[in-house]
């Protein structure tokens, strides 16, 4: 004990410890939930492509990419408040609101379209910011605050579109929902998409690029800011976060604003895909509930503090990949909700293994 390592030699020893296999294993164990989700996705999507009558093709990929985009964005939106230990029940409604807004704004001259897109994203973020203000300054629990504000968003959407309708710039719709080559062709870029250097990437579906852009250019940098870190800290132990002098209010506002922004982006792309605005209440609540399911399947804890938006995207991919299989295996449409429900239950009950394994029952209450 007396000859324990002295302060001078210690740093050398510490940094000499190999950062290789041990840390990798630690990383894997800490992300077990995410790995499970990735495995599920590979399983279901592999099954789908294996049994697809025409096999894997870019056309199928483009179709799938369009089908996953909105839910993936909503799953990212839901993740941020969940990391705080909260929940945002308004994401579906904000999506619908921006969807209706886009059906009014995203048309006309290129400048008008650009402005309209900016307005749509801004509207989503603004609504999220208001949610944040209600939670932070009104001190109302997120779940109930967003339940109420979701009703308001739905009402505003109905004002904007009492009946489905409106239109979206047709070029934009075409360009955003197809391969990169179609995008280039539509807007006359890269020799109408025929440039030789462009060919290796020409097949990539634009929705996948959009999703990657939101994940890598918005979420990943945000996670590494002090505000982003604070969101994790609050979800883990809010009192300790306060004691450490972290910007609690700013982080909560940022979390809900970001949720609104992602949800708004989801609404915008839904409008671009469907070319209409539709204030559909059941659709909004389905998206909200599926976003929560995606977050959980991705391995983010509903108690907050662990997980991430990219994991939730994987969760969304799992949900969608399951329904792709219905088309392949001719599951009668009537049985689809049942199978979806059973898979969801099975997936979340996997987490129950922890409860059955715990040898000290007090650990269950953490």
């Amino acid at each position: 004990m007396a000859d324990a390592i002295t302060a001078d030699t210690a740093p050398a020893r510490a940094s000499a410890r190999p950062a290789g296999s041990g840390d990798l294993r630690l990383r894997l164990r800490q992300n077990a939930g995410l790995l499970g989700a990735v495995a599920l996705f590979v399983l279901f999507y592999g099954l789908y492509n294996l049994y697809h009558p025409r096999g894997f093709s870019t056309q199928v990929l483009i179709q799938n990419a369009n089908e996953i985009l909105t839910l993936s964005l909503l799953a990212m939106a839901q993740t941020v408040p969940v990391l705080l230990g909260g929940l945002d029940l308004s994401v579906g409604a904000v999506m619908t609101l921006v969807n209706c807004l886009a059906s009014h704004l995203v048309a006309g001259s290129p400048a008008q379209i650009a402005l309209g897109i900016a307005a749509c994203l801004g509207a989503g973020a603004a609504f999220g910011f208001v949610n944040g203000c209600i939670v932070v300054y009104g001190r109302i629990q997120p779940i109930i605050a967003t339940l109420a504000s979701g009703a308001i968003a739905m009402g505003l959407a109905l004002f904007l579109r009492p009946k489905p309708g409106g239109k979206i710039d047709a070029d934009l719709s075409w360009a955003m929902t197809n391969a990169l080559s179609d995008f280039a062709e539509t807007y006359g870029l890269f020799e109408d998409g025929k440039a030789a250097w462009f060919q290796p990437v020409a097949w990539i579906p634009v929705p996948l690029l959009v999703l990657s852009a939101f994940a890598l250019l918005v979420w990943v940098p945000f996670r590494r800011t002090l505000t982003g870190r604070t969101i994790y800290a609050i979800g883990s132990a809010e009192g300790a976060a306060y004691m450490s002098g972290l910007p609690i209010a700013r982080a909560k506002l940022a979390a809900f604003t970001l949720a609104g922004f992602f949800a708004g982006a989801g609404g915008l792309f839904l409008a671009i895909q469907t070319s209409t605005g539709n204030a559909d209440i059941p659709q909004a609540s389905t998206y909200t509930l599926n976003s929560i399911a995606a977050v959980v399947i991705g391995g983010t804890s509903l108690l907050g503090g662990t997980g991430g938006a990219i994991a939730s995207v994987v969760g969304a991919l799992v949900l969608r990949a399951i329904s792709f299989n219905f088309r392949i295996f001719d599951v009668p449409p009537l049985l689809q909700p049942l199978v979806e429900g059973l898979v969801l239950l099975a997936a979340v009950s996997l987490g129950a293994l922890r409860a059955l394994r715990a040898k000290n029952r007090l650990e269950l209450f953490r």
């Binding site: 109302i140 009703a151 009402g155 922890r354």
Partner: protein, 319 residues
């Protein structure tokens, strides 16, 4: 608990504020009807009883929801529990219709309880999954169409009929309410709900059978939702797809407006009753005013936020 304090407890304040707000709704609605129809329709006993009768279905769902919210959980499966119970009851028919409907509730409640209490899956997500399964089962069974079978006479009796002017549905709601009031304040089960909602580990180490209590809360919640479904089918003479969808969020809202803390541990049953009445009257005044759906949604959300803001202000002033 009641005997211990004399002054107005903090959890009574929301109830008084909500009750005050009910008077405001009635006042505004009456001014509107006096101006447009020249009659105080809202204040006639017949009208109020009619409103309470429709409120009974929401009241039953909210009563069960409150038990679950008190222990810090939530039940999102009530929508299809209600619908499945109604569909099963009408499909079975005859004297076994009502027991069959309630049996569905019992089974769903047990499933939820086992998932949440024993497997420790977060209730938010487990009940969501159970809701999807129930919807799937019902859609598969009915072929996606409204079932052709009709409610039995017994179901119509408890859902729609009146005995000497008093709707039977209202009587059922009052009876259930009295029972829950007593259970929450005067039984070990009720006290255990509050203890678990405050600090589950401490409740467990106090020798409270936390898993059994949690399970029972979910069973009661589903049973009340099933009862509401059977009665609603009686009221509208048949069961139909999505008949429960309109009850989940209003039930949660009623519980919270009544002062029950959404994270559990605090709240009085009286508040839930007041919350249900508030929501029912707000809906009916808005429909008298022929408010479009858009306006209703905005007002609905606004009322919840404003009421909770007012409660919060009151709490801070006293603490």
């Amino acid at each position: 608990m009641n005997a211990l304090t004399v002054q107005i407890r903090p959890d009574t304040k929301p109830i008084l504020i909500a009750a005050g707000f009910i008077l405001v709704i009635l006042g505004v609605g009456t001014i509107y009807t006096l101006a447009t129809q020249g009659a105080a329709t809202l204040l006639s006993p017949a009208y109020l009883i009619q409103q309470l009768q429709t409120g009974a279905f929401l009241g039953l769902v909210a009563a069960g929801m409150m038990l679950v919210i008190l222990i810090g959980h939530i039940d999102l499966s009530v929508a299809w529990t209600l619908t499945a119970a109604a569909m099963t009851a009408t499909a079975v028919g005859g004297p076994w219709a009502i027991p069959a409907g309630l049996g569905v509730g019992l089974a769903v409640g047990l499933l939820n309880g086992i998932g949440v209490a024993y497997l420790r899956v977060p209730s938010m997500i487990f009940t969501l999954g159970v809701n999807a399964v129930l919807r799937g089962l019902m859609v598969a069974q009915t072929g996606g169409f409204a079932p052709q079978t009709a409610a039995t006479d017994a179901m119509r009796f408890i859902g729609a009929e009146r005995v000497s002017g008093v709707p039977v549905a209202l009587v059922v709601w009052v009876a259930v309410s009295l029972a829950i009031g007593v259970i929450l304040t005067r039984t070990a089960f009720g006290r255990s709900l509050y203890a678990i909602g405050n600090r589950e580990a401490a409740a467990y180490l106090s020798g409270i059978p936390t898993r059994r209590v949690t399970c029972l809360a979910f069973v009661l919640c589903s049973l009340f939702a099933a009862l509401a479904g059977v009665m609603l089918a009686g009221y509208s003479t048949k069961a139909f797809q999505g008949m429960g969808d309109a009850y989940v969020l209003p039930a949660i809202a009623a519980v919270v407006i009544g002062g029950t803390h959404i994270l559990g541990g605090r709240g009085r049953y009286m508040g839930t009753v007041v919350g249900v009445i508030l929501i029912v009257l707000l809906n009916s005044v808005l429909s008298i005013m022929q408010m479009p759906e858009a306006g209703r949604q905005v007002i609905y959300g606004g009322v919840i936020i404003v009421m909770l803001l007012v409660y919060g202000r009151g709490e801070r002033a006293t603490s």
